[in-house]
């Protein structure tokens, strides 16, 4: 257990042409069998650190490299990436681009075959077994779902039976269920097969549940390496770097009267249950205050004409086996002006398809869709452009011009609108893009790209705006920012619809929630109605946020959606401090 798998000694690295080093005198040792999370804000050098492990730095990225890397007790100096990669499996954040062969079996065997290992087929089979992909060997890559592709990328790394696995943001592109599945597999690999696992991760709740050690990177330096509980309890330090510890931990930190720096806080809801208690006196008052306010938000006068009307919508598409696959099974729905609608459900529930119908991108196989009284079915997308605007999940798919300003202006220019310059300026300001206006949107960071895509959608001044997974691939602090950006949409758009599995976003933002599963609507209501039914979310393949779970466990009168609300309604139980370091 205490053997060192990998060691970095005073490693510094500067990318060619860059002024500031990305890594500065990093010393780090990775114990065999450990499960490590690397955290840090964007650009702090997390990926760069991990690329030192297998020699991508300095062999592939040549730059100023100093220091020494020791792999399994041997110096890595003079060894090529290929040699080092025998012991280290690397799964990229954009894992799809690391699958280079047409079929699952070919891809999983690719690495061992490249190393000329005679048993490459057996290795491939074993790796597929470990990741739960057995029996899919003959499938083509493009037929797999996102989750399966990620598992395949992992299997491709496992086929070499490496000692160390590095996974860059394993759950960024997955829905909560698949995220958990990936982590369960990683845990099994770690505990039963003795693999050393390193993840770059933003989601503190996953770190708390699965990892043992946390490494904090800050501006190219390794600030510390601590056991997970100690690490995540450094709440103020993490917050100052825009890293958000689990909600329970933050709540505990907020409620702790004498915020001692050395204290350790609860990390999970179960632990939280023992530490918090319902606040009796104050909450009653607040409750009466809060209730009518919420009521107001939801009241939709029945005489108002709906913005979107869907009647008995059916949609199916043809599969490769020439059979029809139903996606939506008879959906009837009305959306009103002023609503903030969240469509939730796991992958494949039909959320995106439903939104594409409203935007006129696809035509239903049966039923009618009306937006503002116009029947949409099969209208060319150009015709509907000013009424419904659809923001793709991948912002890059929306970038068709060479500058941010050009992107936003494209629609306005195509229509030859007179006030286009003012509108572009207004959008740049609303989404804080003035400084980026001249840059190519493809080269911006994830959060900036997302803001641009929203500005493109809003510039149209549509009646309905449809957003597909607006918080996917974003780190938590950018996510928090997104919630604010979404508020900026309010003045420009009548109705906003978001498809997401990000429950925290739903909890903070939505006024109406529609739960979908297998092409049907399971439930439709406001936050309280949906979140108080714990079973419902599970049936739809979704996970509660920690705050929701805590509210339920503490039997609070109402499900809390924000940290402030939770802190106002609960109290720290003094006698129950958390003891013990590691879990």
């Amino acid at each position: 257990m205490d053997k060192v798998a990998l060691e970095l000694k005073n490693v510094s690295f500067t990318y060619p042409g860059a002024e500031v080093p990305v890594l500065q005198e990093v010393s780090f040792s990775l114990k065999k069998g450990d499960f490590v999370a690397v955290i840090g804000s964007n650009g702090s050098g997390k990926s760069t650190l991990c690329k030192c492990f297998n020699g991508l730095i300095p062999h592939y990225y040549t730059g100023d490299f100093e220091g020494e890397v020791m792999l399994l007790g041997e110096s890595a100096e003079g060894k090529s990436v290929s040699e080092l990669s025998r012991h280290i499996g690397y799964v990229y954040q954009d894992f799809e681009n690391q699958l280079v062969r047409p079929t699952v079996m070919d891809d999983v065997c690719f690495t061992p075959l490249n190393y000329g290992l005679l048993d490459y087929r057996e290795r491939g089979m074993r790796a597929l077994e470990l990741t739960g992909l057995h029996g899919m060997g003959r499938e083509f890559i493009w037929q797999l779902s996102g989750g399966q592709k990620h598992l395949l990328a992992l299997a491709g790394a496992l086929a070499m039976d490496p000692d160390i696995l590095v996974i860059d943001e394993p759950v960024a592109q997955l829905d909560p269920q698949h995220a958990r599945q990936i982590y369960d597999i990683l845990r099994r690999l770690n505990e039963q097969h003795g693999k050393t696992v390193v993840v770059i991760e933003h989601h503190a709740e996953f770190i708390a549940e699965y990892c043992r050690t946390v490494v904090l990177m800050d501006a190219g330096r390794l600030r510390w390496q601590k056991p997970v509980r100690e690490a995540l309890s450094s709440v103020d330090e993490l917050l100052s770097l825009s890293i958000y510890p689990p909600d329970v931990t933050r709540a505990a930190w907020l409620l702790q009267p004498d915020r001692q720096t050395a204290a350790v806080y609860p990390l999970s809801s179960e632990e939280g249950q023992r530490c918090f208690t319902r606040r009796l006196s104050l909450s009653d008052i607040q409750e009466t205050l809060a209730q009518p306010q919420i009521k107001d938000l939801h009241s939709t006068p029945s005489e108002v004409k709906p913005v979107v009307e869907m009647e008995h919508i059916r949609l199916s598409y043809r599969t490769i086996h020439k059979t029809l696959h139903p996606v939506l099974n008879g959906i009837s729905l009305e959306l009103f002006s002023g609503e903030r609608v969240a469509l939730i459900g796991n992958n494949g529930a039909g959320k995106s398809s439903l939104m594409k119908l409203i935007a006129g991108i696809t035509a239903p196989t049966g039923g009618t869709v009306k937006v503002k009284g116009i029947t949409v079915n099969g209208l060319p997308p150009e015709r509907l452009a000013g009424i419904a605007s659809y923001v793709f999940q991948n912002p890059e798919d929306m970038f068709i011009d060479d500058s941010v300003r050009g992107e936003i202006a494209y629609y306005l220019k195509a229509r030859g609108l007179k006030d286009k310059d003012e509108r572009v300026e207004a959008m740049l300001e609303a989404f804080r893009l003035q400084e980026l206006a001249g840059r190519d949107a493809r080269l911006l960071s994830g959060g900036q790209q997302r803001r641009v895509s929203l500005a493109i959608g809003a510039a149209v001044r549509p009646v309905v705006m449809l957003l597909d997974e607006p918080t996917a691939n974003l780190d938590i602090s950018t996510k928090q920012e997104m919630t604010r950006v979404l508020q900026a949409l309010r003045g420009h758009v009548e109705t906003v619809v978001i498809a997401t599995h990000d429950m925290a976003l739903v909890a903070e933002w939505a006024s109406r929630i529609i739960v979908m599963s297998e092409g049907r609507i399971l439930a439709d209501g406001n936050k309280e109605e949906i979140f108080s039914d714990g079973q419902l979310l599970r049936r739809a393949g979704l996970a509660e946020t920690q705050l929701m779970e805590m509210s339920r466990l503490l039997e609070l009168p109402q499900i809390c959606c924000s940290l402030e609300e939770f802190v106002a309604r609960s109290e720290w139980r003094k006698e129950e401090l958390v003891h013990g370091g590691s879990r």
């Binding site: 592939y60 090529s80 990669s85 690495t111 000329g116 083509f140 493009w142 991108i361 629609y411």
Partner: protein, 278 residues
């Protein structure tokens, strides 16, 4: 007429093109020719792609043509491709005939053109037979076994692997152009304006597509490094292992022998009856 075109266009979706294309590309191991050794097929192809250029004997060409028709049928080529081929040949002959009429030629000018057509058909049919019988993987391995540089063989197979991704992205970007663009309000004479609008965005789509692809390939190239690709390229042992599944079997020898005998008989036959058809 316009309505019919519209309806036909509506039925073609990007998804469908993707399925059709990949189905044709990868679904070949079920035919007789698809099970043959790729190296043998490639050499076979090389012969039928080159010799017709040097043969002017119409009997021999006709004999080859018949053989090619049989192999094309055997490889169960999709009727679309055959249709496109016929269209190409007919239009080729058509405009050359028109041109010869213009310069004072007559029906007699058709005959020499028929010889050329015969040559072209043999070559085209041979190409169709071979390339629809070899899926990209076997083609790539076959080329690699015949000494083509590995990097080329690999990029060939990778090109096919990435094709569906590119198609999907193409579709998305095209949609972005349409969602934010403005179709001409009037179709114009013979739908010219609408056609011009679509052609214009079809061309424009390629720019973002290329930029996105360039961005994506950064990870791919890096990942190839971590997955031992360079090691494999510099190691002849690995190539041997990878291609060890290529074995000449009985049916390969039989097919090669039959082709050799058939062509071997054609030549004397052609010399004896040079004007069997015309």
């Amino acid at each position: 007429m316009v309505e019919a075109v519209k309806r036909a266009l509506n039925r073609i979706s990007v998804e469908q093109i993707k399925l059709e294309l990949l189905g044709t590309a990868y679904n070949s191991s079920s035919t007789f020719l698809g099970r043959l050794d790729p190296r043998m097929l490639l050499i076979w192809y090389l012969f039928f792609a080159v010799t017709p250029w040097f043969v002017y004997n119409r009997t021999i060409l006709l004999g080859m043509f018949v053989f090619m028709v049989v192999t094309t049928v055997l490889s169960r080529v999709s009727p679309y491709i055959v249709f496109i081929l016929c269209l190409g040949l007919v239009s080729q002959i058509g405009w050359m005939f028109l041109l010869s009429l213009f310069f004072g030629g007559g029906a007699e000018s058709l005959l020499p053109m028929l010889t050329l057509t015969l040559k072209l058909s043999v070559i085209s049919l041979a190409s169709i037979t071979v390339f629809s019988s070899l899926d990209p993987e076997r083609l790539s391995d076959g080329l690699s076994a015949l000494g083509v540089p590995d990097a080329f063989a690999f990029s060939l197979s990778y090109g096919y692997r990435i094709l569906p991704t590119l198609l999907e992205e193409f579709h998305q970007i095209l949609l972005s152009f349409r969602l934010r663009g403005q179709r001409p309000l009037k179709h114009g004479f013979l739908y010219m304006r609408t056609a011009a609008y679509y052609l214009r965005i079809l061309v424009l789509v390629f720019y973002p597509l290329m930029l996105n692809t360039a961005k994506r390939s950064r990870t791919t190239v890096e990942a190839l490094e971590t997955r031992g690709y360079t090691y494999a390229v510099n190691n002849p042992q690995v190539k041997k292992l990878r291609l060890s599944y290529l074995v000449m079997q009985r049916r390969d020898w039989l097919f090669a022998a039959f082709s050799a005998v058939y062509v071997g008989l054609l030549f004397p036959l052609g010399t004896v009856f040079p004007n069997l058809i015309y």
